[in-house]
């Protein structure tokens, strides 16, 4: 048995995660060829590295197939209902910061708040015969946020990438997406609603509450967590 640590398998998120662990004396590395998702851990015994897509890490934690995992708050909240019962937030890691926001075209000068959005979506439906479309991949979070805010007559359309472009392409009227600097939004002539912040997210180290742990695993886990506190 060993402790399984799930880490994003590519890009900046992977590099930053490796840096974060390196600062704490643990070297994570990818082994084999560039295309092979295998990894190695040095500096601590009994830990296996599992390279995964960041989007799959919440599910793997909830299924108990990995003990620890690095992924964004946004993905955990979106993918795991009652996430507090399935995973424990161990360490916010201070990178991958991004906000999940609602944004509309800049030229909608009459829309600044969720209340405006609600009024506009009613009028839009009357005019166009369909509900106002919001492009997003965060269906559950956005639906709950808008239900709570009492916004009606909207429709979520799935967008797994290039979400900001959907308005110009007229496949959606507005977007709900992750942004860190707002630059992509501005470049696409979109603005954030003043009360449209759904969630602040950052890369976080999570512990699965359901993964099975032998006594040895527990000792390894404890030794590992002590390193993070120091």
């Amino acid at each position: 048995m060993s402790i399984k640590l799930g880490v994003p398998s590519k890009g900046r998120l992977m590099e930053k995660t490796f840096d974060w662990f390196a600062k704490r004396g643990i070297t994570l590395s990818r082994t084999g060829s560039d295309r092979e998702y295998a990894g190695a851990v040095e500096g601590v015994e009994g830990v296996d590295l599992v390279l995964l897509s960041a989007g799959e890490i919440p599910r793997e934690l909830a299924a108990g197939r990995i003990h620890l995992g690095v992924t964004g708050t946004d993905l955990v909240h979106e993918k795991l209902p009652r996430w507090e019962q399935q995973v424990e937030e161990l360490e916010p890691m201070g990178f991958g910061e991004a906000d999940l926001i609602l944004a509309v075209p800049q030229f909608w000068i009459d829309v600044d708040t969720l209340e405006d959005l609600d009024a506009v979506s009613a009028a839009f439906r009357r005019t166009h015969g369909h509900r106002l479309r919001i492009a997003t991949k965060y269906h559950r979070l956005i639906r709950e946020f808008l239900a709570d805010a009492g916004v009606a007559d909207y429709q979520l359309v799935d967008s797994q990438g290039a979400t900001e472009g959907t308005v110009k392409n007229e496949t959606a009227e507005m977007v709900a997406d992750i942004t860190s600097t707002g630059e992509t939004l501005r470049a696409n002539h979109l603005k954030i609603l003043s009360d449209g912040l759904v969630l602040r997210s950052q890369a976080t180290l999570w512990r699965s509450r359901v993964a099975k742990c032998s006594p040895e695993d527990k000792a390894v886990l404890k030794a590992l967590l002590d390193r993070f506190d120091g």
Partner: protein, 363 residues
Amino acid sequence: MPNRSQIEARAALLRQRFEVAGGVVVDPPLLQNADTLLDLYGEDIRARAYVTSDALRGEQMLRPDYTLPVVEMHMKGGAEPARYTYAGEVFRRQEHDPDRANEFVQVGYEVFDRTDPADADAEVFALFHLQLRGLELRVATGDIGILMAAVEGLKTTEVRKAALRRHIWRPRRFRALLDRFAGRTPISESRKKLLSTSGPLTGSAPEIGKRRAAEIDTRIETLRGDAAAPPIAEHEMAALEALLAVRETIPYALEQMRDIAVDLPSILPALDRLEARASALRARGIDVDRLDFEAAYGRTSMEYYDGFVFGFYAERRPDLPPIATGGRYDALTRLLGQGDEIPAVGGVIRPDLILTLEGEART
């Protein structure tokens, strides 16, 4: 916990009693066209119903209740008047509470009859009352029609009334709108700036998306009109708040609401309907003097109830959902009737919950 065959046996018994009362057995399909549900309830239904799809028919939903397919079926050419009954499973997606069932049996009774709506209300309620006899339940009743009539009668603009009407079933948004229309909410800086400029407004940002500049101009005109309209009068606000707070037995509730009607005379016809319903209930042997009435009851349910509403609750088991619920949904028949409409009232019972309560009573 009752097992499946016990639940089915009880469901059959309940349905049989509805048949004796005149209900024709119907058995609508499990899968429903998702578009109809989405049109009615919006995205919120996705949190409540399971969605599936195929390449031919597109998105389908496992029926979250029977009312909708029964209304659809009736509006396509049912006899008139008509009484229907059914027993079968409904499916509810659960995203928060693992203790809530995602599949359970409902037994229902629906009446489509335009001759005497007050008596149809009483007929349905009395039948449910009879079915649940012997169980210690708290009964809640209300009437969404009174609140709707109050909104209609407000001395304010049609735009504001339409906004309030649209959010009758979302109490928090309703409250926020009401506060704004009464001038209780300060106007935001961005709104002030928007309205302080006169003439057509053109921004520097490019026009993108399907919502066009003309629509923005129209909305700004509407906002200007709204800013110029006087706030809803304090006495009307006070009356509306008093109305929403009414919680009494039916005779006292009527008395209180007749006082409130001095400031909101538009609710008088709805109060007369409540009085007629009370008489009809009495004639069917219901002890109206002890029946509770809450003016705000039924507002948070997702149903399209727009008149009489009722629910039966196990007071000693507040963790359980209501044992039975029902109400009047005339507007739903209008929405699904393509030009047709008919007064309709009905309700559903959960046999599994009845058995659970009976089991507890025995031990």
